[in-house]
Symmetry: C2
Amino acid sequence: LIVLEGIDKTYDMGKAHQVKALVDLTMRVSSGDYIAIMGPSGSGKSTLMNIIGCLDTPTSGNYIFEGREISDCSEDELAHIRNIKIGFVFQVYNLLPRSPALANVELPLIYSGVPRDERKQRATETLTAVGMGERVKHKPSELSGGERQRVAIARALINKPSIILADEPTGNLDTKTSGEIMAIFDRLNEEGNTIIVVTHDPEIAEHTKRLVLLRDGQIQSDEEIKSR
Amino acid sequence: LIVLEGIDKTYDMGKAHQVKALVDLTMRVSSGDYIAIMGPSGSGKSTLMNIIGCLDTPTSGNYIFEGREISDCSEDELAHIRNIKIGFVFQVYNLLPRSPALANVELPLIYSGVPRDERKQRATETLTAVGMGERVKHKPSELSGGERQRVAIARALINKPSIILADEPTGNLDTKTSGEIMAIFDRLNEEGNTIIVVTHDPEIAEHTKRLVLLRDGQIQSDEEIKSR
Ligand SMILES: Nc1ncnc2c1ncn2[C@@H]1O[C@H](COP(=O)(O)OP(=O)(O)OP(=O)(O)O)[C@@H](O)[C@H]1O
Ligand SMILES: Nc1ncnc2c1ncn2[C@@H]1O[C@H](COP(=O)(O)OP(=O)(O)OP(=O)(O)O)[C@@H](O)[C@H]1O
Ligand SMILES: [Mg+2]
Ligand SMILES: [Mg+2]
């Protein structure tokens, strides 16, 4: 489904000072994989997720998505991948600050041309599924940290994407609410969807089937999780 | 040191719909306390921290800080409390987006009138203490989630406040880096400072001496942690 080969991502900070966020990274993802990515703060996890999600481009290396090299894709093809095929839960939520939760979750459905009444109904259902049914009218500034995180999760799932990329989706959630979110991801994976979760929490990683460890921009290990 | 009595915080969402974020909350904090606040997402933890930190005012109830009722304080007195007496680590970091990490951490020292060279030196030392010595020139958008969190922590500590309020300071940090941050907080508490940490992680709470559990805006329990 996804092949990353020899991916480098380097930032130039001027005056010969470079940050190598990813170094010669190679990784394959098959359809239906359920992967946890862990590693120290600053090790390159979000950078990797942004490249997989076609939100950022590598400095060098190949990214082949469903058999197609991403750097050859048109802007329309990339927009389709980002908005329809992939659902992305950002580490920093990225919600529209002046829109209520409901409008934020409806946004991807506007892109895919769903009519207004159906949009409102599906957005309400998805918000309810993540425990946010009582907060649909609140703007992001009127929500707690964990509530904003759940709105971001609902928005990522609403277009029923077959690939879900979640960058620390439970960082601001208590244990019970984390468990509810992971139950949603577990069920989506059982239904055949591909899920990649960045997490710092080993208990979250235990829901997945494969653990990729990053360190200093490189893959330290990439192993099946045997305890399941 | 701090007395909260009968604190209510209610948001009016129009059309007779109210959110009661805090309900009749009473709590005392003594100098040198080391408190963890836990509770479900949306239970009122950040709202409580914002009131303790004088960043928000209760709808009703009393807040007595060092013997003085906060609602009687002048704007200057409040600014002194917020900037000198209290160090606040926000759940959403609140860094200046166009300033590098160093300038962000220097900001409280500008408020307290520290000269330029000393500011730069102290900010560099504090950033190094939280593992960010290599990233002092990066702006927030050029930092990872956990790196931004650590810049926010450095900024909260730089004025050597005697009261530290940290709202989920390790939510985006790996286990090792979390341990380094908690070691800093442990040491500051041993030196006599008062520390209140909101967390979803029981391992973080184990560093503290007292656990306050919130649920639906009310204190469910307030107990010493005996395992230490
Ligand atoms: N725009 C940028 N310019 C320069 N350096 C950057 C930029 N963006 C990220 N970095 C650096 O790249 C490294 C990797 O960042 P990344 O966000 O991928 O880390 P991460 O593994 O997600 O960390 P965390 O667990 O803290 O979220 C970090 O050290 C960061 O400072
Ligand atoms: N400005 C506001 N207007 C309306 N409701 C609000 C506002 N700010 C917060 N709330 C509501 O108040 C409740 C408590 O919010 P708070 O941020 O204190 O929760 P929290 O315990 O910190 O949660 P988390 O663990 O998710 O950060 C939430 O249910 C939230 O929706
Ligand atoms: Mg990250
Ligand atoms: Mg909060």
